[in-house]
Symmetry: C2
Amino acid sequence: MSLKIALAQINPTVGNITYNRDKIIQSAEYARDQLGADLVVFPELTITAYPPEDLLFRADFINEAQAAVNEIRKRVSGIAVVVGFPELLDGRLYNSAILIRNGEKSKTYRKKQLPNYGVFDEQRYFSAYDELCLFEIKGQRVGLTICEDIWQSERIAEYKQADADVVLTLNASPYHKGKIKQREQVVVSQAVEHALPIVYVNQFGGQDELVFDGASFVVNGEGDVVYRAAEFEEHIDVVEFEQGQPQKSLSTPLLDELSSSYQALVLGVKDYVRKNGFKGALLGLSGGIDSALVAAVAVDALGSENVEVVLMPSRYTQDMSNEDAVLEAEALGVRHHIIAIEPAVLAFNEMLQALFAGSAKDTTEENIQARSRGVLLMALSNKQGKLLLTTGNKSEMSVGYATLYGDMAGGFAPIKDVPKLWVYQLARYRNSISPVIPERVITRPPSAELAPDQIDEDSLPPYEILDPILEKYIELDQSAEQIIAAGFSREAVDRAISLVDRNEYKRRQAPPGVRITPRAFGRDRRYPITSGYRGNRYSK
Amino acid sequence: MSLKIALAQINPTVGNITYNRDKIIQSAEYARDQLGADLVVFPELTITAYPPEDLLFRADFINEAQAAVNEIRKRVSGIAVVVGFPELLDGRLYNSAILIRNGEKSKTYRKKQLPNYGVFDEQRYFSAYDELCLFEIKGQRVGLTICEDIWQSERIAEYKQADADVVLTLNASPYHKGKIKQREQVVVSQAVEHALPIVYVNQFGGQDELVFDGASFVVNGEGDVVYRAAEFEEHIDVVEFEQGQPQKSLSTPLLDELSSSYQALVLGVKDYVRKNGFKGALLGLSGGIDSALVAAVAVDALGSENVEVVLMPSRYTQDMSNEDAVLEAEALGVRHHIIAIEPAVLAFNEMLQALFAGSAKDTTEENIQARSRGVLLMALSNKQGKLLLTTGNKSEMSVGYATLYGDMAGGFAPIKDVPKLWVYQLARYRNSISPVIPERVITRPPSAELAPDQIDEDSLPPYEILDPILEKYIELDQSAEQIIAAGFSREAVDRAISLVDRNEYKRRQAPPGVRITPRAFGRDRRYPITSGYRGNRYSK
């Protein structure tokens, strides 16, 4: 007797319960009618999408989610459905998965392991619950788990002891570089340790700073991945179990890290624009590498007809910057405008002349240029209802090499979690598909062009040195001493760390952007702005 | 035999371990030498100050905190000291309180109840620990607790059973309206229930969005508050216990809510400026009520010599606005500058003319005015190293009645958690001490002055209706139906709620500001930007 399990790697929208409910119903019908599935499994908290955050505190929200579950029960027949939803029971809220099957009394599993680290705050919302949930279908005993549960060995061991034939896991596991492999390794090792097949279904889609890559899969009791869904695609597919063993099915090979992180950026932009109802996007194109990459990502996400770029040269802008920006706009097939910022900059300088008389020029004057650009771009965004994309990368965000309300102005920051060296790699990767970024943009030394002959390395360590220091400090929580011991100069380390510390206030006002590293700024790294901690830095 | 316990309501700085350590040592010496105390009790996590957030993930930080505890042990004698610190033990981190006494082996209490709601994320960092910690001093058996522990009855009951004579509690309990009374009621009811005196020591000082009011106190076993430290003051005082009973001591009466919330705003601004090393503050003074109140708060926090205001009239600014702004600047004794924004606005409009040809005027043009002001104020802030204060109130932040990078530009937002009606009350309260805000500023209808004859009520419900709707929706998580049932029109409720929902993206880029309500935007209310939830609103 064979059992067909469908993995519904769908893209729900946080909070849009009606939309998600209908998507679940349609997906279940598709799995039943087109794939002949006996059972369809959806991602964690399917009904609300993940993460619903403080919406979970609202009684009306929880009631509406429960009503959606009831509606699914009413409307779906002929296939068993497992969906995730927030369940209120005796005054406590659980992160639950419910089995709905042809008018039968439903069975509910409640999540035991509630992650409260990194970007996760589940102990803020949910109570933990410690009970197995098994059901039988086509002679197979199936056990339910939710996301974090499967990262611990204990739960799977309990299902094995309870004679389960297969374990299903509902997930909302966000992407970062290396995460897809890491996830598979964990699940494979659980499957092998307990000799149990595991069906892993993940959410797909972008939600504010998080991107869910999908990449659902099935592993057999020997640890072979017998099926893998495409990454970064909405996807419903079926795997057949015979005598309890999942059969080899069409699998998509894993993408390499460059492709997957590029896809993550594209999906992040696409879903932020789509789910928030913007009429496209615009950005300032400077002729530098960062805005070049963001423009390519935007076009790949939204189509060239929905992207618009603006060149805003100043007296410090080199000709090659303008030339390259125009070349890229043409290669991408997007509309471009040119607005010289000189009139606004002159106006501000004159207005401030009396007050600034006698004081030397400093970054104030550079910021006025960047902020004049910010005002122009926001005016275009406001007038057209298009989302303004900012172009800062993670290295810049780390050390504060960006102007608040200037180049940081915008609604979404596609590459804010991409270190500068990775920006170059992604640009080359994108050009390998089709050449859209002029070669000179990639090879010239990076510059903010806010002062004569300025280049980044005048005020920052070279990115080959800066980026690894930042990774150790920000992602690995290493101390200055540890980083120096790894072979970096005290001077470069002190400079980098003190800039990171001093610029927390800027990051706090930055727009959201796609997380692609294991530790992005934001929910992932919660630092005080006011902090007297200097560690063992030389410069106190 | 009498026992003298000192309550050290000090103002440490988050992360500044050396400063905090020295402050603890000096305070202990003062308590010993000037107050004759046998024992001195400090607030929760004294060594690091509260909340240290993700600094707690750094090994160097934890080591340095432990080293500071060791240093205190070495340097302090002749008085028993109880301080809070993050303690690493067998690979787990605890929120601990340690008793240090003349070379004796120290005793450590570890927090059991770890709050993970509201602004608190303690389960992100700490493990819970379930053991009492009792010690004897001058014949009294003293039990230790930390903050949240005392909000549960269980721990106090256990100390009573273990024959404790008094319980000490180390706290970092942030202010909001009503919190001081609430806190006292909880502790008094514990004291009465278990017939045990309780010594409550709270942190004092501002830390980013949080303000710790102090208001430490001692309650006897009958529930009488026998001592209360001043709110909003650094303070070390002693209470004498005779035969286990705390003796009546000089107490400060509780402030009323208006005074205490005004003090909270002043402290928030003062400590943000001081602890972050700014050379004073500046703000735009419009002649409206919000900036009038912020100017008064800034002067009370920093002194008139450290505050500077800027009038930035446009063609829509009424004469009375300028007149009143100048009058207030003079009453406060602060320097004022006047910079008309017309030249910048004209420049931008001309630069955009070609692109905007054929499209109607809308809020884009209003935003250009607000953003031109933002650029000017930020230029002054950058040039002088002064903190730019924004002047938006909570009602505006809620409905998005503010311009991103315009009037929202700045490093700190003193009244971002103050609803508009409360702004008026605080203005009158401040004037009752000395008249600084011109009467006309309080009585004229509020206006953004970004278009001819514009007043807030053109586009918003009157604040008498808006503010209570916002409180129910934001602070109490009520649904539209519930709010309508309380007597508000569906139209006003739908309008208010949809504006709140749609403007999450703006709030995410707002500067930090002082929390004075039970639910401020920020750590306290974590909402997705991308959200399809519309509840049962009429307008979907």
